[in-house]
């Protein structure tokens, strides 16, 4: 083309000659643009790499927590051990305090062919069984005392160390004295596994059980219920309070020095370290108001205080983003201020408000520090029936398990993190769905 346009024949036709090209720094500008794009891509790649590393580390360590090694064998509920003197009709305490672990040990010893005189053998057999059989068998017998004296096939938890060994998490190359499972136990484990008596099952206990010092019986059930109570309290309190405060500040309040001060303070509160809210909650809700310690109610109140600034800021931004022409249109028709806000402005701001609220809730769900101060970092084994009962929260449970020494708690820590992440993903999906639903109205 350039040849054609500068050819003498075209100049002869009256086409103007091309002036000399100016250097307007095009090469430099394009290079800067390319560089900037590269920086951007590098930043995103960096972020993705760490996200991938995080997920890989958590999932690879935690996926085994969703399976638990269990032993299924015929168990003789011997009257000899449970209720030797046949007192259960007169003394109900008898069935509660009976020595059930021995029942399980004898059953397993029988299957493995360990004699009743082999004390060392019996101890090794006992080490394969979770201590949680005491509670499990007690519940079986107290609900149906007629099984005493009969033999039933029962599935019960293997000991946490055996579970770790069965999942290949214990290095068998380490000298026998330095590891938690002996060679004999590993041999038995393999025999039982071959016969099908020992197998991995889906770990429902992880979702239903409370805290336990025995890793194989520990679960996030109590923590999940505690977190659920707190989320409900946060939602019920912070959404109406936050939205009402934002609507008043944005649409009704006069713009003066006092409202400016309030605005600055709200923005500052959003940046206050969460542990400070914990101290505030301890002083106000526990010491002054006298609410019970470790209760989900207090946790929920503290997290509400913490979430409010986030929700108010998000809601105000959403209200600000509604075009003023919509307000003018409604006011010009004779709508009152309140009708204008509730009929036109609020519905348009709804997607932004919901997104802000759910982000605030997700923050609150993952918050640990303030809960430590109000006593929610406690060993709670029973599911809280009301928000006034002692409870823990998912992130606190993770924190506590991370401090445990047993190998089996490592996978549980990661498993609990996975559960927490799934909750967060569900909440975010909920936010996206709600936003879509509200945005669809033109």
């Amino acid at each position: 083309m350039s040849q054609v346009s500068t050819s003498p024949s075209m100049t002869a036709l009256g086409v103007t000659a091309k002036p000399e090209r100016r250097d307007i720094g095009l090469g430099r500008r394009y290079a800067a643009e390319r560089r900037f794009r590269l920086y951007g891509m590098a930043a995103i790649a960096f972020g993705l790499l760490f996200l991938f590393l995080l997920l890989f580390s958590v999932v690879s360590k935690g996926y085994t927590a969703f399976q638990q090694t269990m032993i299924t064998i015929p168990v003789e509920f011997s009257a000899e051990i449970i209720d030797k003197d046949n007192e259960r009709a007169t003394n109900p305490q008898k069935l509660v305090s009976a020595n059930y672990p021995v029942v399980a040990r004898n059953a397993l010893a029988k299957v493995l062919g360990v004699g009743e005189d082999d004390r060392a053998g019996l101890r090794a057999v006992n080490g394969m069984i979770s201590d949680s059989v005491r509670v499990q068998f007690r519940n079986l017998v107290t609900t149906d005392p007629s099984i005493i004296g009969t033999t039933r096939t029962v599935t019960f938890l293997a000991h946490g160390d055996l579970d770790s060994a069965f999942k290949g998490q214990i290095d068998l190359a380490v000298p026998e004295n330095n590891r938690k499972v002996s060679d004999k136990q590993v041999g038995w484990m393999n025999t039982l596994a071959e016969s099908g008596a020992l197998a991995k099952h889906f770990n429902t206990g992880l979702f239903t059980n409370g805290a336990s010092s025995r890793p194989e019986a520990a679960g996030v059930g109590v923590a999940a219920i505690g977190s659920l109570y707190m989320m409900l309290i946060v939602l019920v309190l912070s959404l109406p309070i936050g939205v009402a405060a934002s609507i008043y500040l944005e649409e009704f309040a006069p713009k003066n020095r006092f409202t400016d001060l309030i605005e600055v303070n709200i923005n500052n509160l959003a940046a206050v370290p969460s542990i400070v809210y914990g101290l505030l909650g301890l002083a106000v809700f526990v010491n002054f108001a006298g609410f019970p310690r470790s209760a989900a109610l207090v946790g929920g109140l503290v997290l509400t205080l913490m979430t409010l600034p986030t929700i108010i800021i998000a809601t105000r931004a959403a209200l600000k983003a509604v075009p003023p022409s919509i307000r003018s249109a409604a006011l010009g028709l004779g709508a009152s201020k309140m009708q204008t806000v509730f009929h036109h402005v609020l519905p348009l701001a709804m997607p932004g408000i919901l997104t802000g609220t759910i982000i605030g809730l997700a923050h609150a769900l993952g918050e640990t520090a303030p809960l430590l101060l109000i006593g929610m970092v406690a060993f709670v084994a029973d599911v809280p029936a009301t928000p006034m009962d002692p409870a823990t929260a998912l992130p606190v449970q993770i924190y506590m398990w991370a401090n445990e020494a047993e190998r089996a708690f490592v996978e549980r820590t990661s498993g609990a993190i996975i559960v927490l992440l799934i909750f967060l993903i569900l909440m975010n999906v909920g936010a996206i769905l709600l936003r879509r639903r509200f945005e669809r109205r033109w």
Binding site: A329, G332, L333, A335, R441
Partner: protein
Amino acid sequence: MNMMSEAAVEKALDKKMNDISYKMIGKDVSVYYGDKRALYDVNLNVRENTVTALIGPSGCGKSTFLRTLNRMNDTIDGCRVTGRITLDTDDIYDPAIDVVELRARVGMVFQKPNPFPKSIYENVAYGPRIHGLAKSKADLDAIVERSLQKAGLWNEVKDRLQEGGTGLSGGQQQRLCIARAVAVSPEVILMDEPCSALDPIATAKVEELIHELRANFTIVIVTHSMQQAARVSQRTAMFHLGNLVEENDTDKMFTNPDDQRTQDYIMGRFG
């Protein structure tokens, strides 16, 4: 009615003398935005069933004056209005006057079409609904149809009343906004440069509409287009630097204005 205001008496006298009825009377109207004064003692009367055009260069205060007529200036922080404006016999800045009721009597159409992000039907039905003008669903349907017909939009949208109002073209949106204002059955309709965002064809339609609406409503229109003022209005008021320069019959204004500044502006020598 022995408590008639001074302005009302004036109006009655004026009517008797000239056989002209004034719908709205503005007396010594001044507007301040904070410390800045935007209007200087404007005296301007709006005649009933007449289209009054407000012209003048940008920033001359014509939109500000228009917005004092239904107190839309109230929504601006730091805005202060002095002087007196009456609608019929009511002083609209009297504390006893409810601004919501005033705006139901003095409707407004804005510069940029601003339909609600709702259906066409809902856009028109909103005003009657909040003011309780319709007794039944059928009643409301009738108001919507009549308003859309008055706005010349009925034939174009009657089959898609439930579709979004923002999906219409710019000109249709502006006529929807006019239908929305008409649906409340106001006495006065204020239009703030209603055609500035529209193409010539849509503008022609809206102008034709203004012409027809004159039979039932008193209209005050702010416009930047001299030709539009000449085409649609019977009375024209020229503003400059916050002052009312001249107010006259449109024909006289565009052929033989009294004031030199009007002459210069219309001839395009400034502005």
